[in-house]
Amino acid sequence: MDPVTIDTTKFRPVRKKPETALEKLEDTGLISTVLAARERKGLIFLTTVDQVFNWARLSSLWPVTSGLACCAIEMMAVAMAHHDIARFGMEIFRASPRQADLMFVAGTVTKRMAPRVKQLYEMMPDPKWVISVGSCANTGGPYHESYAVLRGVDNIIPVDVYIPGCPPRPEAWLYGVLQLREKIKNEGYGAKWGLNK
């Protein structure tokens, strides 16, 4: 029998290398429904308000410095050169919650600290997200039985992403950040504000 030859080029279409600025933008995958009018040489592109907003938001999240315990040291490690959170545009840790839109709850939330954490969250302007880092913030962790520790920060504020670990490794931390970006990508703030009409 003759050997069957398969022409692989038929199955794998060769991807065009992005060249123009618009194509590059499209290639990031962030603005997925860019209906660029190529015939008109990329002078117009269409998208939804949501996607543009979300893209802007997730590309520069500004966390508030709210290191509470051991995990905060790992937070510093993530922000430093070796792990470099600046790759995700979020190296600017703000001391003031008014200028931040992301909160890492990094560490043990004790009973005494809980109202302060809540206040901090309430002071942040909308839209805002919370990442709970470490077993302590997730559930109380090793201090679950303690009289002075709140068993999970989600008892007082809503949490978007949980990162387990005691403390989570920086890689886990970055993975959590990526998950949050994924989440923000699919949010529909425009619709909420009536901008889709």
Partner: protein, 167 residues
């Protein structure tokens, strides 16, 4: 002669017994005479108060002071026994300033009162916390919550409804 025996010779009326705690000389002191003994201890050159420990033995409290002398490089352990109903002992803050917080901490967590302390308030737990956690009869099943009052100070209550999101 170690420091414990020296102390016993100087103040035979106030020292109940002497002994060793691992390798450190240990002196059991009458609680009424603690200040007097402490003054003598300081005179003997023990200038570093390492730690103040309170232990709840259900029928009694013990307060243990660990001293160290920079000059003589010696250790000394003082111990007083207090009764369980009203644990009270003199404060050493006038001799060692470092005793201030250590005693406040012992008051906070164990509930031993130090008479003559300039500011005997809770230090680690907020003012108003019920019970002293390191006592053996501390009730762990009662949840206490803290909220912030008008003036920014802590308010302790067992009702966490304005703090928690869901019941």
């Amino acid at each position: 002669m170690n420091a414990a025996e020296e102390l016993k010779q100087a103040l035979p009326a106030s020292v109940v017994s002497t002994g060793m705690q691992v390798e450190k000389p240990l002196v059991l002191v009458k609680k009424e005479d603690l200040l007097e003994v402490a003054a003598k201890v300081k005179e003997m050159g023990f200038d570093h108060l390492s730690v103040v420990t309170g232990v709840d033995y259900v029928d009694r409290f013990e307060v243990i002071y660990n001293f160290f002398s920079y000059g003589k490089k010696e250790n000394l352990v003082l111990k007083v026994v207090l009764d369980h109903e009203a644990p009270e002992v003199g404060s050493l803050t006038s001799l060692w300033k470092g005793a201030d917080w250590l005693e406040r901490e012992t008051y906070d967590l164990v509930g031993v009162r130090f008479t003559g302390h300039p500011n005997l308030t809770r230090i680690l737990l907020p003012e108003g916390w019920k019970g002293h956690p390191l006592r053996k009869d501390y009730d762990m099943s009662v949840e206490q919550f803290v909220t912030i009052g008008e003036d920014g100070e802590d308010i302790v209550s067992t009702d966490g409804s304005n703090l928690l999101r869901r019941k």
